[in-house]
Subunit: 149 residues, 4 copies
């Protein structure tokens, strides 16, 4: 994945308690960085998480898949760039692709993706993604993303 | 605090992701170990945490104070003993005292205490601790703990 | 993945601080449970993590890939069974497959895998996996796992 | 503690995975916020943590005490202000005082302090705090802080 093809970027600094017994960022913490990227991506489009576990536009999503490829080690106090994009939208699910690189030398530390499912906030059952969401993401990413099966 | 004066003990093993950039258990993780001790103390008396944020006997508590004195360093994969007792009960609050020692050489790693407040689960306002709780704890600890002011 | 085909199982209890703003185990925490499973798998074969970031038999490994499929939600205080196996061994890498199920009703919560690379502890460069490790794992799993390319 | 009497402030946003089963920031996470405040306080004076577990000016510190009083609940996505000051310096130890407030309504969520000990990086034994550190902190805080016993 080429970071130049991502339209959203946010940053985190590696904290002392994110380092593990090998002196490197623990592999599970990249999922936390991914989540920060995903939430900031949505904030950039105008919505945020609220106490009920939903976004304030009434949508609720949960992860059904996450995967990560580790390309390098990140160390304490390093500044990391998190690049986030949505790469496809299906009926009730969509896919985030993400890259984490060191701000210092732009080397990639971790790449990955997550598939999220849109839920009905009442029933917690999968629900069709609304047109408003599709339009908003396609406009931001500058391309068609909806896959009709 | 002398561990021989505690009637409840549980164990945790230090996990790789609880170690920090100095190669030791990060200081915040002892609060997680304390919480495990407190919940196992209550489980031993027959109640457990449920999804609504309460115990299954209908009581709800939150911490208003925590303090810890660090006496040593704990390292990856070490087995730790968590000793927990309730040292006093007031109208709507009570105090946990806790000691964490290494199982290997019985050296103390961390001592501390936490003050919890009993809440009305509806209003989230402090509420008098019921007699059942006081009696149960006093019986377990084998001494009077209720402080009437 | 059928849990009956796994020879190693360990348990964790979901802790209060592993629950997130949606009232369920946060998706990153399953990687921590996976790591607990992997380390207990190795302990069962006689080796453990030590302070230098290696196993006490002198081997050092790091994750190059992790993936997870979430099949359900786990809630506070639930007891989870972590099933772990090694499914293949290549020249310098090997693959863990894992399933996490609820102990209560045996429903699967999360499935996933991780690819680990064997490093030279001095240079931190990939190094051929020793025959001793291959033999030990193949004996435990009861099948040939080494893939020669 | 009055936040107007603090000269250092940094911010964190509450993340989804920092919320616990009661829908509030878990009490242990405030120690992580405190640590972020402490490290940013030091960064503001020109030094940062490095991989060896020390600051890049060669000093090494560990916590021997932490305490927190919780004054309110913080919720997902809230922006928190972390105020940090050093309140005294003794021979080999010094004390951080900290307040965490909500940026939205300036209500205090948590107050606390931590006592850190200066270690010899070779021996990990307590060592007298250098004059350079004392002078730097006293200049920043605008008052005498060294306590000679």
């Amino acid at each position: 994945m080429d970071v130049k093809e991502f339209k959203h970027k946010t940053q985190v600094r590696v904290r002392t308690f994110e380092i593990d017994f090998q002196g490197i960022v623990h592999n599970a913490n990249y999922l936390k960085y991914f989540e920060i990227g995903r939430i900031e991506y949505k904030r950039n489009l105008g919505s945020k998480m609220i106490r009920s576990g939903e976004f304030d536009d009434g949508t609720k999503v949960v992860a059904v898949h996450n995967s990560m490829d580790y390309k390098g080690f990140a160390f304490v106090d390093e500044l990391l760039n998190i690049y986030t994009r949505i790469s496809w939208i299906k009926n009730s699910s969509f896919c985030f692709e993400q890259v984490i690189e060191k701000d210092s030398d732009k080397s990639v530390v971790c790449e990955g993706k997550g598939i999220l499912v849109n839920l009905n906030p009442e029933t917690n059952q999968p629900e069709e993604i609304g047109e408003k969401f599709v339009k908003e993401i396609e406009e931001f990413e500058g391309k068609k993303l909806k896959i009709v099966i």
